[in-house]
C-alpha cells in the first residue's frame, strides 16, 4: 500500500492518477497535505503537480466520459470532502480500466459513491440557495455570512448573479475565509479581514435604516404562518438542521 500525498488541487489529483499508471502503484491511498521529508511510513510518495501530466489524464477521461461527468468529477473534488480522494481516484481508474463508458454503472461502488458525493454537494448548494439571508448595509450592499459543510461557494455564483442582478451583494464563507462579491457587473473572489474587530456587531452597525424593521417583519411572518395544531419538530429539524440556524434571520 502506497500513500500518495498531493497538494489538494484537481491538477494534483490528476497528476497522481498519472503516477499510479506510470509507476504501476496499484494499491494506493491518496491524501492531501504537506510533504514531510521525515515521513514515518516508508511507502509515501509525494506527488508534484504537473500540468502536462494532468492534461494528459484529462484528455484520456474526455475520451471515455461525457463532459457532464467530467464536470461532476471536478465538483466532487472541489467540495473538499474529507477522505473522499480515494473514491474519486477509484472512479477514474475504473473509467480507464473499462472499454466502454461506465458513468451510469451504478452497480459499481465507485460510480455509486461519486453519485452520492454529488448528491450531498448538490443538497448543500441547494441549502445555501435557500438559507442565505442578506442584510442590507448602508452602502446598499446586501451581505450574507455562511458556513456550508462543503466548499460550494463557486457553485452559487450563477444562481445569485441571475437572481440579484440589480443589487450589490457579498456572500462570505466564514469557515473557509473567502467570499464572492458582485458589483452589478461581475463577481470576484474576495477575503475580508475580520481580525481586528468583532465582526457581528460591526455588520449590525453598518445596517441601513430599515434593515432591522424588515428582519423583524420576517420573524413575525415566520411565527404567524405556523399552524400549532400541526407541530412536527422532527420534520422541522430534518429540513433545517440546527447548524444552519446561526445565520437564519428567523431563527436567531
Amino acid at each position: 500500500m502506497y500513500t500518495l500525498v498531493y497538494d489538494g488541487t484537481f491538477e494534483g489529483l490528476l497528476t497522481a492518477v498519472f503516477e499510479i499508471y506510470d509507476r504501476k502503484l496499484f494499491h494506493v491511498k491518496l491524501i492531501k497535505g504537506e510533504w514531510l521529508s521525515s515521513a514515518m511510513f516508508e511507502e509515501v510518495v509525494q506527488i508534484i503537480t504537473d500540468e502536462n501530466r494532468a492534461t494528459r489524464v484529462l484528455r484520456g477521461l474526455r475520451k471515455k466520459l461525457s463532459s457532464a461527468s467530467i464536470q461532476r468529477l471536478y465538483i466532487a473534488h472541489m467540495a473538499e470532502m474529507e477522505n473522499e480522494e480515494s473514491a474519486i481516484v477509484g472512479f477514474i481508474r475504473y473509467v480507464f480500466d473499462s472499454d466502454i463508458n461506465v458513468e451510469e454503472d451504478y452497480g459499481n461502488k465507485y460510480v455509486m459513491r461519486l453519485s452520492e458525493i454529488l448528491k450531498m454537494v448538490r443538497r448543500e448548494k441547494h441549502r445555501m440557495e435557500a438559507f442565505i439571508r442578506f442584510q442590507k448595509l448602508k452602502d446598499e450592499t446586501f451581505y450574507a455570512a455562511v458556513e456550508p459543510d462543503f466548499n460550494v461557494l463557486p457553485l452559487l455564483i450563477r444562481h445569485f448573479k441571475n437572481r440579484y442582478a440589480d443589487q450589490k451583494w457579498i456572500i462570505y464563507d466564514i469557515k473557509r475565509k473567502y467570499g464572492i462579491h458582485y458589483n452589478l457587473h461581475d463577481t470576484q473572489y474576495i477575503s475580508l479581514d475580520f481580525s481586528e474587530v468583532n465582526k457581528h456587531s460591526d455588520v449590525i452597525s453598518a445596517y441601513t435604516e430599515d434593515e432591522t424593521i424588515y428582519q423583524h417583519l420576517w420573524k413575525n411572518y415566520f411565527t404567524s404562518v405556523n399552524i400549532a395544531a400541526r407541530k412536527n419538530t422532527k420534520l422541522h429539524l430534518r429540513h433545517i438542521p440546527k447548524r444552519y440556524w446561526r445565520h437564519l434571520t428567523e431563527k436567531i
Binding site: E104, N108, L248, T249
Partner: protein
C-alpha cells in the same frame, strides 16, 4: 413606514392566509431580463415552519374582510376577529424587500371578498402589475382568482402572474353547498375553464411568436379541504383526477382540515388534523402523476378508503400479488416503478445500471431501494429471495412489524414518498 402598524397587519393577514397549503414556487420559466430583480424558475423552500411545511412565498391576504360566510374559514363574515387590509403599495414593498434579502421566492396573494368579486380581483391584479411593470420584478407571483371575477380581469391576471388558482374548497358539490352556501361550484369551474383555454391559446401563440408575453407559465392549481365533510378518498381522488385531466391542472393540494371554528356542520374543535390521511392522499396523487397508476387502481368501489397504515403503492401491490415477483434485471421501467420501496430515482438508476451487469441485493440497497419493503416483490442476481408463498396480508403484517416504530415516524412526514 409605520413599523408597528405594518407588523400588526402582517400578523393578521399572514395568519389568515396560512390555511391555504399550496406554497409551490416551481414550474415557471420566468427569467431575469434587463438586469431586473429576480427570476422564477427554481422552486426553493427558503424556510420551514415548525410543523415542517415549506416556506417559499410571502403568503398573505390583501384583506380578511369578507362578505361571505364559509363555515370552514376563519375570515368568514360572522366570525368575530380583528380585520385588516393592506394597501397595494404595502404589499409591493414587503414583497420586494423580502425578496431582496432572499427570504422568499415571491408572493402568493389571496383575499377575502370585499364588495364583490371584480372589485377584489382588480386590486390583486394591481399588485402584480405594479411589481412587474414598475419594479421589474421577475420573482414568482401566485394570485388566487376570486370566483366570479370577469374574464377580462382573469386575462390580465394571467399576464402578470406565474400561477393562478381557484380553490374548489370541498371535494364535491354537495360538500360545498353544505359549508359554503354563498359559493357556487360553477363560479369556480368557469374561471378554470377560461384559464385552461387561455393558457393553451397563449402557448400556441408563443410557438409562433417568440416575443409573445408569458401567460401564467406555471399553470393553475387548486386546493381541496379534507376531513371537513364526509367524502371518501375515492371521491376526493376521482375529483382530483377529473380536474387534472379536464383542466390541465398542475397540482391539486389536499389540506387536512384544521378545526378553527365551532359549527355544528363541522368536526368538533378538538378533532385532530387528519395528517396521515393527507399524506396518503399526496402519495396517491404522486402515483397518478408520476408512477403511471390509474385512479381506479388506487381507490375503487371495493377500496374507497386509503389504508392509513401503509402507503398506497404497497396497498396496491398486496392486492395484486399476481403481478409479482418482478425480475429487477429484466422488467421494464413501468413495472419497476410499481414495486413498493422503489422510488423514481432508484427506478431510473436500476434501468441504467443493469445494462452493465446484473444487480444484486447489495447493489440495490446502495442505489437506494428500501429492501425491507421491496424484497417481498422482486428477484435479482442472487439465489436468495422470498420463497414462502405469502399472502398480501402476511406481507403487510411483516412490514409493519419490522418497521413499526420507524413507520410511525414516517407517517408524520408530509411528502416523504415511498
Amino acid at each position: 413606514m409605520n413599523a408597528e402598524r405594518i407588523t400588526e397587519k402582517l400578523n393578521i393577514l399572514a395568519d389568515a392566509a396560512k390555511y391555504d397549503v399550496s406554497c409551490a414556487s416551481s414550474g415557471s420559466k420566468r427569467k431575469n431580463e434587463n438586469k431586473g430583480l429576480g427570476n422564477a424558475s427554481n422552486g426553493i423552500c427558503h424556510s420551514y415552519t415548525e410543523d415542517g411545511r415549506c416556506v417559499s412565498l410571502l403568503k398573505i391576504l390583501l384583506t380578511n374582510h369578507c362578505i361571505f360566510d364559509c363555515a370552514y374559514c376563519v375570515s368568514r363574515k360572522n366570525n368575530d376577529i380583528k380585520r385588516a387590509a393592506f394597501t397595494v403599495q404595502e404589499v409591493v414593498d414587503l414583497t420586494i424587500n423580502f425578496y431582496r434579502r432572499n427570504y422568499i421566492e415571491g408572493l402568493f396573494l389571496s383575499s377575502g371578498i370585499f364588495k364583490d368579486a371584480d372589485y377584489t380581483m382588480e386590486r390583486l391584479v394591481r399588485v402584480a402589475k405594479k411589481l412587474r411593470t414598475e419594479h421589474n420584478f421577475n420573482g414568482y407571483i401566485h394570485l388566487k382568482s376570486i370566483p366570479g371575477a370577469s374574464d377580462e380581469l382573469m386575462r390580465e391576471a394571467g399576464l402578470y402572474a406565474d400561477r393562478l388558482s381557484v380553490n374548489l374548497e370541498m371535494p364535491t358539490e354537495a360538500g360545498l353547498k353544505l359549508l359554503a352556501p354563498d359559493k357556487n361550484r360553477q363560479d369556480m369551474i368557469d374561471p378554470m375553464e377560461f384559464l385552461k383555454n387561455e393558457i393553451i391559446l397563449r402557448k400556441e401563440e408563443k410557438k409562433l411568436f417568440k416575443n409573445a408575453p408569458l401567460f401564467a407559465p406555471a399553470g393553475q392549481s387548486t386546493q381541496v379541504i379534507i376531513g371537513a365533510t364526509p367524502e371518501s378518498d375515492q371521491q376526493v381522488l376521482q375529483s382530483a383526477n377529473y380536474f387534472y385531466k379536464n383542466f390541465n391542472l398542475k397540482r391539486v393540494y389536499y389540506s387536512g382540515y384544521v378545526p378553527v371554528l365551532a359549527d355544528k356542520r363541522l368536526p368538533a374543535l378538538n378533532t385532530s388534523v387528519p395528517m396521515v390521511r393527507e399524506n396518503r392522499l399526496y402519495q396517491a396523487d404522486w402515483l397518478m402523476r408520476f408512477y403511471g397508476f390509474e385512479v381506479n387502481e388506487i381507490v375503487n368501489e371495493q377500496q374507497p378508503l386509503l389504508d392509513l397504515d401503509i402507503d398506497p403503492k404497497l396497498g396496491w401491490a398486496i392486492r395484486n400479488m399476481q403481478a409479482f415477483p418482478v425480475d429487477i434485471n429484466k422488467a421494464d421501467l413501468q413495472m419497476i416503478l410499481r414495486v413498493p420501496g422503489i422510488g423514481l430515482l432508484s427506478a431510473h438508476k436500476i434501468v441504467s445500471a443493469r445494462k452493465f451487469a446484473k444487480l444484486s441485493w447489495e447493489q440495490l440497497r446502495k442505489i437506494g431501494v428500501a429492501l425491507n419493503r421491496a424484497r417481498y416483490f422482486i428477484t435479482c442476481k442472487s439465489n436468495e429471495f422470498e420463497r414462502r408463498d405469502l399472502t398480501g396480508n402476511n406481507i403487510k403484517q411483516f412490514i409493519l412489524a419490522e418497521s413499526q416504530s420507524k413507520y410511525i415516524k414516517n407517517t408524520q412526514t408530509q411528502l416523504n414518498l415511498f
